[in-house]
Symmetry: C2
Subunit: 158 residues, 2 copies
Amino acid sequence: MTLHPQSSQSPLSKERLRLWLKLLKASNAIEDDLRRKLRADYASTLPRFDVMSALSRAPDGLKMSDISKMLKVSNGNITGIVDKLSDEGLAQRVTKPGDRRAHLVCLTQKGKDVFSSHALAHEEWINDMLADLSADDISETTRRLDTLLAALRGSKDD
Amino acid sequence: MTLHPQSSQSPLSKERLRLWLKLLKASNAIEDDLRRKLRADYASTLPRFDVMSALSRAPDGLKMSDISKMLKVSNGNITGIVDKLSDEGLAQRVTKPGDRRAHLVCLTQKGKDVFSSHALAHEEWINDMLADLSADDISETTRRLDTLLAALRGSKDD
């Protein structure tokens, strides 16, 4: 991309930067809090929660590389998390029907039960963190974020 | 914290969760794009950008532990980044006046110049990514994020 240092000094550019820094601050604050709560209440981590969440939405199982792509985390890290989930009886590797070389990972029944309780707690934590937001705050902020997400998609098509 | 599974099913709780997921999606999308651009244009990384940014705001230098605390990254990772910046002549370790045991890190003049150009590019990238947002979108989204940040602070005081 080409830099335009002169336009970079425009007031709107500064306002966009301020918006991004606030978005990052809010996102980091919530993520840090989730991280702390997962550790304290479930001795778990966000990447582990995300892997279980991805598996819970794929009843037929996922390839390791699919999980890695979905979560944008390296295959090596995913392997470590899946190994640990398997050791604890929460996930298992299964052979893909018709292709004995292809392995899929899925949650066990115990894994599904454990993730259900974590997901419920996760929703409750978010509900507590954002308890001071009114129904109007919630719907308007969501609407503004939709506009922002659409703008981001637009900027990729340029 | 106490879980209230029954309240967790309320529509507002689902809306708060949806808001959080959109916030995370937007934040991740922008961060991923910044990461790509830093790598492509400057062979740099976000943690490295963040360390230089922290140092640029501290002309008298920072202790390694301060940088670590500010960025919520382990001391080990910060050491690696600062070592690399030093090797490239962008940062240096100095002795704290009056306390020869305490070492501070600060940017060299070359480091300040390099960071200035990265910071300018960073602002320009954000300006490009959010170019489709009108002045009203920007000010209203910022205002809503301020409300959200205040709600988060409130939930910590409970």
